[in-house]
Symmetry: C2
Subunit: 199 residues, 2 copies
DNA sequence: GCCATAAACGGACCATGGTCCACTTATATT
DNA sequence: AATATAAGTGGACCATGGTCCGTTTATGGC
């Protein structure tokens, strides 16, 4: 087995050729542009390819799928969020009471849905792998460790899954758009849920 | 406005022609058959139409979409389940302690996923309307009323949504298949969650 | 039984996500 | 600079969900 495999080895060397990197930028810009001026639905793979002036095959090679493209679009925000809750100031970051951090975490995620919910929803993968996406793992681990720190004695893995389920973009979006539930109400409900669980 | 609209008016008269009813049966049988012998993925609309010996347009006219077809496939089980928790014996049905009924409800749903999860997952609609499907409304109402009966003082609507989120077929299936979580563990976690919330 | 009419039908057609592969090109090595 | 090679590229092609509309047919009133 050579060392040329390019699996999860995150962040080492540039295993991506120059033109490839350029096209990635081109494509992301084109996609972001389409979202901005014609909405998420206008972001078809053909349209993005055309707008970026490359072939359709290239889009798929770079991002794997439409969901993948959307995820890349969210990548920056997602990383930022991770930084905030891992290294940022309390109550989101370390230093605050675990329960408060959990609450802040939910509040932040709900707020994110409000600003970029459409894209998050479009980034949703096929049902078969929806919950197997990497970004999710980080959240799970984080929530689990906060629950543990809060002294919650339960099946933390499953509990974390359950709690995160109520923060799913698609669900939150549905509650806000279709059910007319306000953000504040969702956030209050999250806080209440956490306090009950951690009580 | 005439009385000819055929909206949610459930169960009144046969607004469906004889041949239409026959084809519905034919299609459902064909679909069930395909699921049984070649798996959910083999259930394409063309395949079902061909197997039933009707045109593709007919399948869509009857069921609206692939998800709709799958939902119809689940309809019988779903109705049965509703009967059980509304009129059946405790602890699922009336008579038992609300908390126990909630627990039983979750257990039953999780068990359902084990037996027909694949189809439930395939019945999932597009993200835009995933949570707007009628079947969901019944569950929400039921959970809300049980929470109320249990004396839980909270934003019941949102809380019910959150709790139900952790019973979503796709999520439960992921936990069982990909994470290797056993049914018993999921059920135990549900019970724990309910007891914490209702505490 | 016959007719009018709304319902149902079927399959061609469209849009879009995704695959494939013959061809091109950036880059490391010498 | 020449070359080898792995990576990248483009667009034809495929599968499938979903729409449309001209044609057929069940059915209720006469």
């Amino acid at each position: 087995m050579t060392s040329k495999t390019r699996l999860p080895q995150i962040g080492i060397g540039p295993p991506e050729r120059g033109d490839a990197a350029r096209n990635r930028r081109l494509l992301l810009d084109a996609a972001a542009c389409l979202v901005a001026e014609r909405g998420v639905d206008a972001v078809t793979m053909d349209a993005v390819a055309a707008a970026a002036g490359v072939g359709k095959g290239t889009v798929f090679r770079r991002f794997g799928s439409r969901s993948g493209l959307m995820q890349s679009l969210l990548d920056h925000t997602e990383k930022e969020m991770q930084q905030r809750f891992m290294f940022g100031p309390p109550p989101l970051g370390p230093g605050a009471d675990p329960v408060d951090r959990l609450i802040a975490f939910g509040h932040a995620r709900i707020a994110m849905v409000e600003v970029q919910g459409e894209v998050q929803r479009a980034a949703e993968t096929s049902p078969e792998v929806r919950f197997a996406v990497p970004a999710r793992a980080v959240s799970i681990t984080h929530v689990m460790s906060l629950l543990r720190a809060a002294g919650v004695d339960a099946d933390l893995e499953v509990l974390a899954c359950s709690l995160l389920a109520s923060l799913e973009a698609t669900l939150v979006l549905h509650q806000m758009r279709d059910l007319g539930v306000s953000i504040e109400r969702l956030q209050a409900a999250w806080e209440d849920l956490i306090r009950r669980v951690a009580r």
